[in-house]
Amino acid sequence: MQVVVRKFWSVLEEIRHEGGPPPATPRCVGALAAVIANPFAGRYVAEISPFMETLKPLGLDMAARLIAMFGGGNGVPRAAIDGFGKGAIVGTAGELEHGALWHVPGGYAMRELLGNAKAIVPSTKKVAEAGGRIDIPITHINAAYVRSHFDALEVHVPDAPAADEMVLILVMAAGPRVHARVGGLQASEITGEDGLR
């Protein structure tokens, strides 16, 4: 079984302000989506977990591309990327469980390439028609309770997923919400050892 990519789709937002004082460094949030064939579409397949291993090179390739996108588009170094999330949209001939195959290859790839990040990678998944929209949750890469970094990025690929496809998504962010001001744990206060605080 192999991974067949039909297309990559990316979005990179550079947020200067949202009505308040612009921070010295704009916030960047980006997503990379791979549209792949769903090898399990159209029937119930009991044993699907080996595909997680098959997806690992794609996960690493996508995480590296996303980091490069930040660096190339906006000059954001890898060290400044401090938020992440992931998700999957399964086409209608597939099953929600197929989207769950992305947890391990997507999550571990980002954590590895972002300097052995400690926090769990938040995620969402759904079954949808082509053009379906999904909100990918975002949290701090080393401490899940950092309140200034709780966010989400809405992603959609106009022509995907077809019924027999899956859209696999990785999201990274550099910086807190642009006008974060509701208290809680700050990124500057974390110890970053247990992945939570």
Binding site: V4, V5, R6, K7, F8, W9, S10, V11, L12, E13, E14, I15, R16, H17, E18, P26, M69, G72, G73, R133, E154, H156, P158
Partner: protein, 194 residues
Amino acid sequence: MMSKVRKFVIFVEETRREMGQDIDPPTRKAAALAVIENPCTGKFVQDLEPLMQIGEELGGLLGEKAVAALGITPAQAQSYGKAAIVGSDGELEHAAAILHPRLGKPLRQAVEKGAALVPSAKKMGGAGTAIDVPLGHKDAAYVRSHFDAMEVRVPDAPRPGEIVVAVAVTDSGRPLPRVGGLTHDQAEGKDGLR
């Protein structure tokens, strides 16, 4: 900077397969968007000069961002397009003032040459409105393989007092063009048409 930018958004689409066929090299499209404050909201403004100046500034800036997102040289750009979505406190003519008088010249510098008309679309809309940015060959409008469009949307824009301005650039035509007509290789690119 003349434009009051709230955010920039860059999209890149890279197509590897279409209808079961490998696309090698992949076709690639990029769109660079700016979400800006509309300086003419809430009342009728006769002289739209401020918006024309914004168009001039964004034509170069967004063109350069789109070319950079594709990682190509300006000369490697093959097709382009532009579009704007005006928030509800503005007027459709505001999109026209940004897109038509002055945006094209600096955009053409960003993609080197650009003898052809830059195809465009405009609309009024709320936050999250999608727009299909039309695409046409940059030097010869009749190149049939390059007639296309790229759908873009920004979930939180335009707010009522904002305008979303989009420039799209590609390094290729459609993934599997096969309906005849003038091709990229045949185009002379002198008159902007053929």
